[in-house]
Structure formats: C-alpha cells, structure tokens
C-alpha cells in the first residue's frame, strides 16, 4: 500500500481524482472549480487601485483561497512524506533537446537550471519566470479561466466557449514549446 503511494501515480488515477474534484466542490457548497480566479482575488484584496474589475467583495470568494492553500500544503506533503526522489524518466528526444541548451539536471518537478532565484536577472531567467508568469496571469483572466475553469469545469458542463478557450490554450502552448521556447532556452 505504502509502496503504491510512493510510486508515481498513473494518468488514470490522477484523472479520476481530479475529475471528482468537480462534484466535490459542487456538493460541498455549490462552488465551481476554477483556480485562476484566485489571482484576481489577490489583486482585489491587495491592490484594487480603484479599478472596477477589482472592486468586488473578494471575501465572498475566500473559499477558493483556502482551496489553493490546500494545494500548497498538498504539494508540501507529497514532496516530503509521500515521495520518491527518483528523477522523472522523460522522452529521450526531449532529454537530448534540453541537453543542447545545457539543461542536464532532470531531477525534481521544475528544472533547477531554469527556475532559480539567482537566475532572475539573466535574460533567460527573466523571460522564463517573470515573462512566463505574466502571460499566465494576463492570459487566464483575459480568457476568463484556466485549465481548471475552462478545460475541466467548462468542458464537464459542455460549455462550447470553454472548448474554444481550451483549443486556444493548446495552440498557444504548441507555438511556444516548438517555435519560440527554443530561442529563449538558447539565450
């Protein structure tokens, strides 16, 4: 049992549990799964700056902040108590491509050679961390949701605008990973 938990979990286990989060939130309190809204709540709570988009009662949405607080704690628990530190086996083509950019440390969830505090003032580090984060925050709010709100909650409720958004997420991702990211990584 313990061994099953410490091994990496297969996609179907993860997919089923994540899918069940949709009814769990609905049944616990009629809450709709959607994480990027929290970025807006943080703006509304900390820097409303008299912008109408951030003038609402964010405290009514505080359940969602508890939810992401849980995600943070869950990440900590899994990494420290349920984990195996064995490096992830990745596709050989990807490993070879990354090695070409000097990224050889494949341990952990995030490549330490790309995401490290001391790299933030290099051009590559700045584009990856600050630039990437900005696009995620700007894009999700512009689209009205992220992978959870559109791709999982929206599609589960058969909302076609969410399908449009999900397809656009994928197009953007393919363009970045295959056409633009190689230039950024080679900086």
């Amino acid at each position: 049992m313990i061994e099953t938990i410490t091994q990496p979990w297969p996609w179907y286990t993860a997919g089923i549990i994540i899918g069940l989060i949709v009814p769990a939130l609905l049944i616990l309190g009629n809450k709709h799964f959607g994480i990027s809204a929290n970025l807006r709540h943080m703006c509304a709570a900390c820097f409303p700056s008299d912008i109408p988009f951030f003038k609402y009662d964010w405290k009514k949405e505080s359940w969602n902040l508890f939810f992401i607080g849980g995600i943070l704690i869950g990440g900590f628990i899994a990494a420290h108590f349920l984990g195996s530190d064995a490096p992830i086996t990745i596709h050989p083509d990807l490993a070879q491509e990354l090695a070409g950019y000097g990224i050889t440390d494949l341990s952990g969830m995030v490549p330490v050679q790309l995401f490290a505090l001391h790299d933030i003032f290099t051009l590559r580090g700045f584009l990856m961390m600050v630039g990437g984060g900005f696009l995620v925050g700007f894009g999700t709010r512009y689209a009205g949701g992220c992978t959870s709100g559109h791709a999982i909650m929206g599609l589960s409720d058969l909302q076609w605008p969410s399908l449009v958004a999900t397809i656009c997420f994928m197009i953007g991702g393919f363009v970045m990973a295959n056409l633009i990211l190689p230039f950024i990584l080679s900086l």
Binding site: P8, W11, T13, A14, I18, L26, L28, G29, N30, F33, G34, I35, A37, L39, R40, F47, F53, Y56, K60, F66, G70, I71, G75, F76, A78, A79, G83, L94, M109, V110, L117, D119, I120, M128, V130, G133, L135, V136, G137, F138, G139, T140, R141, G145, G149, H150, A151, I152, M153, G154, P161, S162, A165, T166, I171, G172, G173, V175, M176, A177
Partner: protein
C-alpha cells in the same frame, strides 16, 4: 454611473469562473476548511502524478507523451458524468442548497486570452493550480512566477476596457 458599474460587474462575474451563485446561508469562516481539505488532495495528486512537472508539460506540447492528455481527458469524462448526474437527479449540496450552473458567454477574450495563456503555460510548465503545488514542494523561485502572474492579472484588469472582447 452607479448603474453602469453594476452592469459591468455583472458582466464580469458571468464571464468568469467566479461563483456567481450567492449563497443565502452564512457559515462561520472555518467552514472553508473543507475546501482546504479538497485542495490538499488535489495538491498531492499534482505532485504524485507529475502533473506539475515542467518536463511533462514540455512532452505534452511536443506530442512525446500521452500522460497529460490522459489526465485531462479522464478528468473531463469523470467531471462530465458527475455534472450530468447532479443535474439529472437534482442533487443538492450538503447544506441542502440547490446546485446551479451558469452558461459561459462567448467573447473574443477566450481566443486572445487563451492563446496568451497557452504561450505562458509552455514557458512556466504550469497553469495557475500547479504553480501553488510547485511552491509547496519547496521551489522558492516559483514565488516570482506567482507574483508575476498576479501582476499580469492586474494589468489585464487595468486595461480591460481597451482590449477587444
């Protein structure tokens, strides 16, 4: 002016993933711990199934692995069956409230914003949920990414009126 603002706010709320179904019940704040518990489960799955792995996202966008497609696909199927059952049997919340759904309205933001988020997703290797799980695993540099994402949301809010929707 006041009316204008209210209308805008309503539009915003219906566009977004925010819960617009105001609950008539008022609960003590610690009731929110049930959502914390669900979040903990979610965070553990994120790490254990390597969904928050930057490498897995790169594989997804290079069609080198089925893993992420399997995760999202299964989640949508399970979520869709659940939503269907909730609607079909008019299942209520544990507090006896009705569970409600709001149709999402199409606007061009779903295209432009979707593309922009996609670009960012492939860089950071994380959508907003995984960012918090990555931080939880102890990668401190992710704080920079999260702050920048909050800044991106703020800039969107600031210039929202000038952007095509």
């Amino acid at each position: 002016m006041k009316t204008q603002q209210e209308e805008t706010d309503f539009e915003v709320r219906s566009l977004d993933t925010m819960c617009i179904n105001e609950s008539n019940l008022s609960h003590p704040w610690w009731y929110n711990f049930k959502y914390l518990a669900v979040g903990i489960v979610f965070g553990i799955v994120f790490v254990k199934a390597e969904i928050i792995s930057w490498f897995r996202i790169q594989e997804m966008f290079r069609l080198q692995s089925f893993h992420m497609y399997g995760v999202i696909g299964t989640a949508v199927v399970v979520g869709a069956i659940s939503v269907f059952l909730i609607k079909r049997f008019k299942i209520k919340t544990i507090h006896g409230e009705e569970i409600t759904f709001t149709d999402k309205k199409f606007n061009k933001g779903q295209i432009y914003g979707g593309l922009i988020f996609g670009l960012g997703w492939a860089i950071t290797g994380a959508c907003p949920g995984p960012l918090f799980a990555q931080l939880g695993t102890g990668v401190l540099a992710i704080i920079v990414v999260i702050i920048s994402a909050v800044a991106g949301t703020w800039v969107y809010g600031k210039f929202r009126d000038k952007l095509p929707h």
